[in-house]
Structures are given as C-alpha cells and as structure tokens.
C-alpha cells in the first residue's frame, strides 16, 4: 500500500508516517499527519486497519473524541481493535481541533479553542479561518482517506464521546443518508441549553442563536426528515457532567420520540465520564455499527 503518493495537484495529500506501525490483533495501527486545506494547518489522525484491509476495501468508522483529547486517546485507550478486526472495520480517529494556528485565546480554556473544536464551521473571528472541523470531518477527511487507504467511501459511520458524541450526532443528522450508523458515549445532546455549548457556540458562531440550531443535535432531531437512523447512546449514570446538566440526554430522547427516530439510550449504572466507560461498552457499539456497515 502506497502511503505517500505523488502530490496530487488539486489536493495536498502528502502524508507523513508518524510512528512505526503497531500490529494489533492482526491489524495495523498507524498515525498520520497531513496538511488540511479546511483547517489551514497540519492535522493528525490515527487509523486502525483490520487484517481484511489487506485484501479488500473496508467500511470506516469515524471516532470523534471529546474535549481536550487528541487523535491518540481513543486508539490507545479504548480497546476497540479486537472488535474492529473481527468485523473488518477501519477506525479513524481525527484530532479534536486545529493545532498550532497561533490564534489568540486558543489555549485559554480547556473547553474552548484548542482541543475543543465542537465540530462546527466557525463564522466568527478569529476562529473562522481555521476552526472548520465540521467540513474537515465530513468532507476533507473522507476524501483523504479514500485516496490513500482501502476505504469503501459508501460505507461510513460515526461515533464519539462527549463533544465527539455531539459531533457524531450532528454530522449524522445534517447529512441524511451519508452515514450508515451513528452512536455516542455521553454526548452533549443539547449544546444550546448547556454551559459548554453556549460558551463554544457564542465564541464560534456569534450571538445569533438561530445559527446555533444547525449544530444542535436535539434541534436537528426535531426537524430530521431523512432516511431511518438507528442511534445507540450509552451514558454513565455517575457521570458528573450529566448531573451538571451539560449533557441533557432527556431533551434528545424527547425530540427523537416525537419524531420517531429510533434511539436506544442506556443509562449505565456505576459508570462515569471516563474512557473506562467507553472501553466497557465499545464492543456493543462496534457491533451496532457492523450491523449496518456490513449489511
């Protein structure tokens, strides 16, 4: 498999291998860096290629990480490789925001700016040039992968944790039919109504709350009219952010019940917001994705 091909005139696709390939369960885990045209910086992503990828194209699951995470967290901590290998799914974990853009204030808070891209296309200065995570995830990254890896671009799905869960949900609602399945761990379901979301949206999108609606899963659900989705959401009952009303899953459930969007929401007793929680249920999610990706 050629990793660094000739630079395509239209797109810069020079990739740089960042680490030695690690073999996991018969597959391969690698990290890459590539300049992004959307984000105007070099972006890293991690990718797990199952054994099946050696011989044929595989579907791909995008894992969107949460606040303060990088592309490494999921691959190193979640333990998803075995299930992915079993079902022949490629897992791609991008970074959570553009980095090294030298924007003033980007490192001031842990829940805004660096590591907190909120998967939106910012419209406000000084963020709007670089903070275009929504387009990066939904358009640039799939193209990049299709050119360089044996991915089946017709079979993609989304999952994520916390802010990444929010990202997965909105990308799925905003692109009916593009993603075969979606699932989330402790997602921020209704950012317009929680402190995190309000801070991030007012910073990235400005004061007009109507512009926020386009990036709010609960609002998007209420007006969703696309092909049927099957959403699996796991939420730790002992999650501090749940009790801090940052996550608001009830709002999403109500909206989905109203619109008859199939959701199975599981409140898991004894689990919090950590990656241990993700690790505990990631296999169920991968099976959920496999059902639709391999159908």
């Amino acid at each position: 498999m050629r990793l660094s091909g000739r630079p395509n005139r239209n797109r810069a696709v020079a990739l740089c291998t960042l680490c030695f390939p690690l073999a996991w369960h018969g597959g391969v885990f690698r990290s890459f860096q590539s300049p992004s045209s959307e984000l105007k910086c070099k972006m890293k992503f991690a990718i797990y290629l199952p054994p099946k990828a050696e011989s044929s194209k595989c579907p791909v699951l995008f894992w969107l990480s949460g606040l303060t995470c990088t592309e490494q967290n999921f691959i190193t901590k979640a333990g998803s490789q075995q299930a992915a290998a079993e079902h022949g799914i490629i897992i791609v974990a991008p970074d959570t925001s553009p980095r090294g853009c030298n924007i003033e204030g980007e490192d001031e808070s842990w829940d805004f700016g660096t590591g907190a891209g909120f998967y939106v296309n910012a419209t406000q200065e000084p963020w709007k040039t670089n903070y275009r995570m929504y387009s990066y995830i939904t358009e640039e990254l799939p193209r990049l992968l299709a050119s360089n890896f044996p991915v089946d671009a017709e079979r993609m799905s989304l999952s994520g944790h916390s802010m990444g869960g929010h990202g997965a949900l909105i990308c799925a609602f905003k692109n009916p039919g593009k993603y075969k399945a979606v699932s989330a761990f402790a997602p921020i379901c209704n950012p317009m109504q929680c402190a995190w979301g309000q801070k991030a949206f007012s910073g990235y999108l400005g004061p007009d709350k109507t512009t926020w609606e386009a990036y709010d899963a609960t609002v998007l659900a209420a007006s969703y009219a696309g092909p049927p989705l099957d959403i699996l959401i796991d939420q730790g009952r002992d999650d501090q952010f749940l009790s801090a009303s940052q996550l608001l899953p009830d709002n999403l459930i109500a909206a989905c019940s109203q619109k008859n969007i199939p959701v199975v929401f599981r409140l898991q007793q004894g689990y919090d917001h950590s990656y241990y929680f993700v690790f505990s249920f990631i296999n169920d999610h991968i099976k959920h994705h496999a059902k639709y990706l391999n159908a």
Partner: protein
C-alpha cells in the same frame, strides 16, 4: 408332502377296496377337489421337483393309446386323394408327366412305371392298353419318392409313440416308487395296529388266566376247609368211639354206669348231627364271555384310515397381520389324511375373569391357513385347530396366540414443536391397550413440487414422543406407526414439519383464567370483563397473578428466534422462563424468568428488561410493534429487537441451567400475537 401322501392313499384305496368302486371314486373326487385347491395355491410357487404323482385315471400323459395306422396305409398311402408329395396335381397332369418320363420301350427294358393301385411295376407304354389302364400309374421315380415319404411319415409317428412310451415308462417308475412308499407306510400302520391288537389280546389273556387262578385258589381253599372240618368231625367221632369202648371195657359196672350215660348222650347227639356231605363249592368254573369288543373295534379300524393326529399351530409370521385380521397357519403333524380342519378362535382379554365365559368360535377350513377377519386392533386371540377325516377328529392342537397389529397413532399437532435442527413430535397411542413400541418415519420433501425423498425410520421408540434431528431450511413429512408382536400398524396421518425458524404452540393449560387464546393458538387476549374469582378455574399449573401463559419449547441447544406482535397500548411482558417458574409471581420478578416489559405511563412509554426484579435503565424512542426474541442457549443470551427496524434493544447475559419456555403476559387488557417459524434475520448473529 400330505398332498402326495393323500393322493397315494386314494390309489391305495382303489386297489384294495375294489367292490366299492363308485364310492371310492366319489371320495377320490372329493379329495382331489381338496388338493386341487391346494394345488392352485402351490402354483404360485415354483415347483422344485418335477416329480408328479398321478392317479391312474386322471392324467393324460398316462393315457396310452396304441398306435393304430389309419386303415391300411400301405394300400391307401398313394391313393388319388393323397396329396402330400405331389401337391394338387390332377390326373391329366400326371399322365402328361408319365408320357414325358417314359424310358422303357419294351418289356425287355426295366420297368419305368408303377401302379399304385396294384402296387406293382409296370410300363408306361402299357398305360393305356395294359392291365393297369384304369389304375393310377406313375413314373417309377415318382413312385419311389412317394413311398419314401410315406415311410418317413410312418417313422416319425413311430418316434412320437416311442417318446410317449418312454414317458409312460417313466411315470410307471414313479408310480412304482410311490406304491413302494405307500406300501411301506401301510405296512407300518398295519404292524402298529396289529401289535396293538395283540397286546390287547395278550393283556386280556393274562387277565382271564389270573382270574381263573384266583377262582381255583378260592375253590381249593373252601374244599380244603371243608376237608379239615370233616377231619375234625372224624376225629371227634373217633374219640367218642374210643371213649365209648373204654367205658365199655370198664369192668367196674358201677363206674361204667356212671360214665356211660353222658357218653351215650354225647354219642346220640353226635349221631344226630347230619354230616354235611355237600361239597361247599361247585366243581365247575365260571366261564365268562370274554369282552373282546374293543379288540374287534381295533381290528375293524386297521383297514380304515387312522384318525389324524393333532395338527401343529405355526407361530405368527411377522407382518402377516393387519389391524383387523390375522393369517393363522398350521401344519399336519405327520402324513395324515385330512378332509377338513376346524379352526377355533377366542379373544384374550387382559381381565382373566372374562375369558372363561367366552365361547370359542369355530370355522371349517380346507386349507392349512386362514385369514381371520373382523378382529379388534392391538388385541390377542388364541387359536387352535382340529383335523377331521372319515375316521374321526384329531385331538385339538396346542393353542397359539396371534395378535393383530395396532391401530395407527394420532399425531398431536398442537404439541409438536420444531426448530432448524430438530423437531419434537408427540402423539396419542391410538390404542386402548399398550403397544410394544413406535416407529417414526420421515420423508424430506424435495424442492421439486412435492417429490418425496428417501424415507428414514426411527424404530423402538418407547414413549409417545420423539425428538428427531433434522436439517435446517427443509420441509419434512412425518408419520408414526405403532408396533406390537403382530407387526407395525398403518401410517398415521402425516404431519408436516418445516425447519425454518423455531415453531411452538402455547401451553394453554398454564394460562391464567383471564387469558384467552384464539382458536389458531397464536393470539392471546386479556379481556376487559371482570371475571368473578369464583368462576376462575385455577390449577397447580396456571398462573394465578400474572395474566400469563407459557409456550412449549423444544429442548434443543441451538439458537431460536420468534416474534411477537403487540399494539402500542398494551402493557406486556415477553421473554423466557424455566418450566418451574413460580405461578404466583410476575415474570422478571424472580430468577427463573427474563422478560422485556412495556409499561405505559401518562407521559411516556417505559421499557424494562427484567430479571430477578432488576432492570437496566433504557430509553427507547421508537416503540416496537413487532418484537424479535432471540435465544441462544450456548452463549447464554436472550436478545430483544425491534424487528421492523432491525434495531437491537437489549441482550440478557444469562447462564441457562435448564431449558426454558417462552413466556407471555399481559399487564392490562389487550392482546398480543405470536409469530412463529420465522427465519431469523441476519443481524441475530451479531449478538
């Protein structure tokens, strides 16, 4: 062998009883009739030996006609009407031929013609004028040919006759042998009989002789005692006389006078006694007329055919019985002559007291077998038989017990279940008495319209149910037969099994009284009407609080899948439970049941997945109307799906200690339907 023996006896009778020709022939015919019946039976079987025993006046090949030439052939062979050599030649043609073939010119030449009428040679030129002018004259050559052909004909006729003679000789030989055998048998019989007679006579003699002895003894004894008496008397008398003499000699007159009186008295008394001079016994012996009537009878019976000995009942041949008939067979003990048999039959009941009252029914039979009909299925009958001929009836044979096959069983469709790998079939015996075992037959239906494949049989099934291993995704026809010592019954009505999905019925006797099941057995209702408690019929097996019912499940350790259709307003519990789950509990509330529960609150639908009273907290936004239930014994998983969306709802991880039953309950008035025999969707395998 009796066939041959019988006929030979007929021959024998003809030879010995010559005065009763007519009677014999009638009897011959009768016996022949009997054995011709036997013969038609025997014709089906190939005859092993070509030996045939013939009666003198019945078989054609023995009919030997001496060869008598038709008239005097030598004279007529070449007459005008004989056309065997010359075809249909007319006289004119012949004479033309004659003229053309003439070779002799005068009488000094050898003759060239032949007169068939006079059978002498002659000359052609003399034909018209000679002595044979009105006779048929032909060329010598031709004459020679004609004569030769007639010789051939004669020869072949003679050859035929030779063959016939040889046949006849062969037959005679056989008859000789038969006669020898017959003679041998008769001789044996005779010897036996006469031995008997002699023995009886000897016995009689002994009896008589010993009787005479006894009598003699008796007489001698009485005479002897008489003698003794006389002797005694003599002695007495002598003694008296001596005494008298003594007294007489007594000189002493005085003592003489004293003694003489009693002595004289005694003598007088004694003299008065009349001696009994009559001999006590007669000198004659009683000559009893010997009772030899039985000997006479034996003598009479010697020439007659002996009465047959008891026949032998054959044991029941397997597969010769049906459910209402049995084929009873017996054979003769020896080469007896038999006119007919009488077959007795009597049913055997389990209850011995009934048996003694029943009379046996009797049937007259000519063959050594009979198919008795109008019997009860799966019943035992005892049969015995006697053989009869002109002399008498044989003793009864030993009793043999025959059994009719059972009636076919009846498969109970509502109690049969199936899954992709197996099926559990249950049936009713179909017989009031027990049978030995059951046989199950299954035929795989081919893909081509109903063409049946090979029949597989499972035998020696001891009870009225059977778990059979099958291939998934196929269709089978199942039949059951009941088997006893008489053989297997007819097939039961067929039952079709489709190894697609898991198929089962509800155990209606576990249903709560308020739960009613539709006629097809797959839809259940909890009706609004309040039944008063008194009208509710509870049993140990019914659910008493939860309005619930159990389904039947095959005990097969594979994956099972079924679906339940619900309506959004029904509160239900759907899952599985052990057979012994508490009947007064609610599903999911104990550790013997697992279920998905739907609760309707004023604000929303609530779904619980209950076991041991515990449920995870799960919200479901799209309310399932068709719930798929997947059970995996090996992995210990019970899963629920929204079958319309293919959405996985929840999976229990459990270790099943026993086989489980599907369970269904309604918590409010409403209904639900079971959908069975459904192919599991592909996503089941992802659990």
């Amino acid at each position: 062998m009796d066939l041959f023996g019988g006929i030979l006896d007929v021959i024998d009778e003809e030879m010995t009883v010559s005065d009763d020709e007519d009677k014999v022939e009638d009897r011959t015919r009768a016996l022949m009739d009997m054995y011709s019946l036997e013969n038609t039976e025997a014709q089906a079987k190939p005859q092993v030996s070509t030996f045939q025993r013939f009666s003198v006046d019945t078989n054609e090949s023995l009919h030997f006609e001496p060869y008598i030439p038709e008239g005097d052939e030598s004279e007529h062979a070449l007459g005008n009407d004989d056309v065997f050599l010359t075809g249909n030649q007319s006289v004119f043609d012949e004479s033309k031929e004659l003229m053309e073939g003439r070779t002799a010119q005068s009488e000094s030449d050898p003759p060239d013609a032949y007169c068939t009428d006079c059978q002498t040679s002659t000359y052609v030129f003399q034909n018209i004028t000679g002595p044979h002018k009105n006779h048929r004259v032909i060329l010598m050559k031709k004459a020679a040919q004609e004569i030769k052909s007639s010789i051939n004909k004669t020869r072949s006729k003679l050859e035929e006759k030779i063959t016939q003679m040889e046949n006849f000789a062969g037959n005679l030989e056989e008859i000789f042998i038969t006669v020898e055998e017959n003679f041998g048998r008769q001789e044996q019989n005779l010897e036996h009989h006469y031995n008997d007679v002699l023995q009886t006579l000897a016995h009689r003699y002994d009896e008589r002789a010993s009787a005479l002895e006894d009598e003699k003894k008796m007489k001698l004894e009485s005479l002897y005692s008489q003698l003794i008496d006389c002797g005694k008397m003599l002695d007495n008398s002598k003694e008296l006389i001596e005494q008298a003499q003594m007294v007489y000699r007594n000189e002493n007159k005085y003592s003489f006078l004293q003694r003489v009186m009693p002595v004289m008295k005694r003598i007088e008394e004694h003299a008065k006694k009349e001696p009994d001079l009559k001999i006590s016994t007669s000198l004659e012996f009683d000559t009893q007329t010997a009772n030899l009537s039985d000997v006479k009878q034996m003598m009479d019976s010697i020439n007659a055919v002996p009465a047959p000995s008891a026949p032998v009942m054959n044991p029941q041949v397997p597969n010769s019985a049906t459910c209402t008939s049995v084929r009873v067979c017996w054979s003769l003990f020896s080469d007896d002559t038999v006119e007919y048999y009488e077959l007795y039959s009597r049913p055997i009941f389990e209850d011995i007291t009934v048996e003694s009252d029943l009379e046996a029914s009797k049937l007259k039979v000519k063959e050594t077998h009979y198919t008795v009909t109008d019997l009860l299925p799966n019943a035992q009958y005892e049969f015995w038989v006697t053989a009869t001929n002109t002399t008498g009836i044989s003793p009864a044979s030993e009793k043999a017990v025959y059994m009719t096959v059972p009636s076919p069983p009846v498969i109970k469709p509502r109690e049969c279940t199936s899954c992709p790998d197996a099926a559990l079939i249950r049936w009713d015996s179909g017989n009031s008495n027990p049978v030995d075992s059951y046989t199950l037959e299954l035929i795989e239906m081919g893909a081509e319209s109903g063409r049946a494949g090979v029949t597989e049989s499972i035998v020696a099934i001891p009870t009225c149910e059977c778990l059979i291993q099958l291939q998934p995704g196929k269709c089978y026809l199942i039949y059951v037969r009941a088997v006893n010592i008489g053989g297997p019954s007819e097939r039961s009505e067929s039952f079709t099994v489709s190894t697609t999905g898991t198929f089962f019925h509800l155990l209606e006797d576990t249903a709560h009284p308020c739960l009613s099941v539709s006629e097809d057995g797959f839809t259940m209702f909890y009706t609004d009407e309040e039944l008063p408690l008194s009208e509710m019929a509870f049993s140990d097996n019914t659910f008493a609080r939860c309005v619930a019912v159990l389904g039947d499940l095959i005990p097969v350790r594979t994956k099972h899948y079924w679906e339940v259709e619900v309506d959004p307003h029904t509160e239900y519990r759907i899952g599985v439970a052990y057979e012994d789950t508490q009947r007064n509990a609610y599903f999911g509330g104990n550790n013997t049941s697992w279920c998905m529960r739907h609760v309707l609150t004023p604000s929303r639908h609530k779904y619980e997945f209950l076991h041991s009273g515990w449920t995870p907290d799960i919200r479901i936004t799209s309310h399932p109307l068709r719930i798929g239930v997947a059970l995996d014994y090996d992995q210990g998983k019970l899963s629920f799906f929204n079958a319309d969306l293919g959405q996985h709802l929840y999976t229990f991880d459990c270790q099943f200690l026993h086989y489980v039953h599907p369970c269904f309950a309604l918590d409010n008035p409403g209904g639900l339907s079971l959908r069975n025999g459904v192919t599991p969707p592909h996503y089941i395998s992802l659990i």
